[in-house]
Symmetry: C2
Subunit: 507 residues, 2 copies
Amino acid sequence: MGETNKTAITPTREEDYPEWYQQVVKASDMADTSPVRGCMVIKPWGYALWENISKILDGMFKESGVKNAYFPLFIPLSFLEKEAEHVEGFAKECAVVTHHRLEKKGDKGLVPAGKLTEPLVVRPTSETIIGDSFAKWISSYRDLPVLINQWANVVRWEMRTRIFLRTSEFLWQEGHTAHATKKEAIQRTNMMLDVYNKFAEDYLAMPVIKGRKTASERFPGAVDTLCIEGMMQDKKALQAGTSHFLGQNFAKSSGIKFQSKEEEEVFAWTTSWGVSTRLIGGLIMAHGDDDGIILPPKVASSHLVLLPIYRKPNDRSRVMEFTQNLAKELKAKHYHNQGLEVEIDSREIGGARGWEWIKKGIPVRVEIGPRDIDNDSVFVARRDMGHRDKKSMKREVFIGQITDILDEIQNNIFDRALEFRKTNTVHINSNKEFYSFFTPENIQKPEIHGGFAMSHWCGSDKCEAKIKDDLKVTIRCIPLDDNNDEKGECICCEKPSRRRVVFAKAY
Amino acid sequence: MGETNKTAITPTREEDYPEWYQQVVKASDMADTSPVRGCMVIKPWGYALWENISKILDGMFKESGVKNAYFPLFIPLSFLEKEAEHVEGFAKECAVVTHHRLEKKGDKGLVPAGKLTEPLVVRPTSETIIGDSFAKWISSYRDLPVLINQWANVVRWEMRTRIFLRTSEFLWQEGHTAHATKKEAIQRTNMMLDVYNKFAEDYLAMPVIKGRKTASERFPGAVDTLCIEGMMQDKKALQAGTSHFLGQNFAKSSGIKFQSKEEEEVFAWTTSWGVSTRLIGGLIMAHGDDDGIILPPKVASSHLVLLPIYRKPNDRSRVMEFTQNLAKELKAKHYHNQGLEVEIDSREIGGARGWEWIKKGIPVRVEIGPRDIDNDSVFVARRDMGHRDKKSMKREVFIGQITDILDEIQNNIFDRALEFRKTNTVHINSNKEFYSFFTPENIQKPEIHGGFAMSHWCGSDKCEAKIKDDLKVTIRCIPLDDNNDEKGECICCEKPSRRRVVFAKAY
């Protein structure tokens, strides 16, 4: 690892981005594949990140009046069938429970037995089962709004899976709300999109575009799906969170009715919104480099690692003592309402030790040797800078500045990601240029696609489908801001268009 | 509700304990049954309690060096079969996934399709799937110990279910550790039992007996199962947590091997330990009264509720203002490293409002009316006292004393539960007396059973089985303390015995 050009991760992003991703997940010790098709094992370093993500989001939800609850893992098939579009959308990828015990059967060993009268589907999402509860809980306008969130595992039997990005089982939160009026439900849909937007940008340091999905990309059963879309380093888009206005569709299929102030029996208006462990995949792809992951300090599994260094055995005790004391002082500090998480790695495994932490993406590494101690100093390396770019700092100064350093890293990686997105977002007005932009042969490396094309779209399903068929490019969203409202011609059919939309390849 | 003898819950505990339990769960708004057989819906008031339980336990686990991770929901059938006793123990109550999509089939509507090559079992517990990861993670003694915990849902297809106590799906934590030596694994088994013991007594205010299960009551595949057992108000025992020493059984079946310091390849020693949402059922049955639940302040979903009271509409603003200010001051306080959780209930629904909070078991209720404000006072009621037993307190005094009041309630309900257990624990030496103690006809009410009988047992499976068959009484545990070590004669066969054990009916 001593050579200047050698990277900790092989291949590099430029050489083979998808393979780089798999390798970086492995090298960072975040997660692993499992013997169960498409299911992952989230290892402690990855799970600590998810815990931080959950804790922060949970606080934001509660701040907005939402309460947590828990609903059954299993959904009776008849429930799923209540909403026609919904079941259509999920039927192709459902794990189905059909039996409730195992029985010995001669040579075959154990086989499923005790067939269920009605098959149960392992929840791919919970609108229908939560709708059943809402129907019981709600009878008067006084019961509204109902604002519920659930932290849970869900299962979607995906054909092609990739750790964190698309797994058969994943962890997520799903918010479900019911309101007396359409206006209030739409407000909540927007409010939760804003929460996701804030979380992605302020915590994950991932700039995102807030927008509306086209009809073909909507959540099955929704009237309107809002989303946030980020750009990964291969210039593909990643949908990082969605917020759905469900109109009265699910209220009607689940019977969520209430007596209004005017004493009429009416259906409620509902919303649902979710983010998942997919965010971790996004975070890795937005910030990682050829040496591993770079964790945004505000969600990092841990903030800094202390690496005691000594050659002579009799230096050990004073180096360790200095390290322990430093850790104690650092742990007493606060960073954005959390404690400062400090690791001490005293394993005697040579240079591999520092590299492990680089690959894991810990924001700050601190080397402590006898000479540093003589100067009352520490040797500090930041993960957002080159791995040789270390700086000696007086102990007291370092302790005083550590939270500022973490904030600098946080801001720095956000700025880098924003700059990257800006560089790779282009206004394209001609069909020829558009096709050229998205054709791999025209790009340096086949794995690296064009980026975000801000182009006009007439609004027809046909044009959207043609572009998808031709180029595997989809409309990621119709941005919510009005910067893109202008007259123009559809990039596909040249018919009049009133705004530009975001076209990109996507995960 | 104005009559002196009327209770908020019908029937009372004495009238019909099992039915009282169902009613109290319902009245407290903690949870509800669901349309999925044996699965429950945990409502916000119940889930907030579970969140507190999880948070505190999670901190205790981490303090002991344990890290969280997450493993697949599904276990391939072949994995479960690796440990013979284990699969034997769970085969009768497994939810089995056999298909991965749904397909339209004529009139029948959707039916399961895409049959899996190997059925997947929804985890009833995760020893075998986590063992597979441990086998990959561990190769040298330097990798040990591995100390992992998982917060998850599990499924056991129980025949008879009761909310919180025995449900097909429940939430729990399962700790799994691997060690280089037998001694260390046994130490960890004991250490985690101590964590559970401390949590049950110090937080749930539930006195428990630490003990060892007999062979017939062991976890399937364990070498030794330790447990904590509490006494409910119907004098039945509730197993509130278990910690298993698994020996090398699962290490052998999963291939968890490592190179020892002496460079030999040897199997690791493993443990597992868990508590679940069952604790909530235990908490309800240990403390609840005929007016509803009584929540121990240290885990309570919320600590106190402010109830503004006014008759004249023009009193409203000053009562609300006083209430809001009081809430603000209270929320700034800390209670055992948590914030103080304060509810304001300003619904204009009359006396039903106060009763709702009594039924929900909130530790402290505070009434605030114009006359209280005139005296700069509040009117305080404690849930551990009678519902009419209210006290006027100066505002400042109340704010100053609230955390002490909460501690008093916590200690009070613990003392009550301990006293109850003591009263209902008896040393029984004669077989006749033993049978009489556990025969319902001999007790006032058939639903109320004898209690804990501390009696001698020779150690034979036969005697244990006979008593179970005759009386539905089991050996809850062989206490770990040595207070019960003395010579005597088996309560069943009169053969020599070296110690008393805890006999009781149980949940």
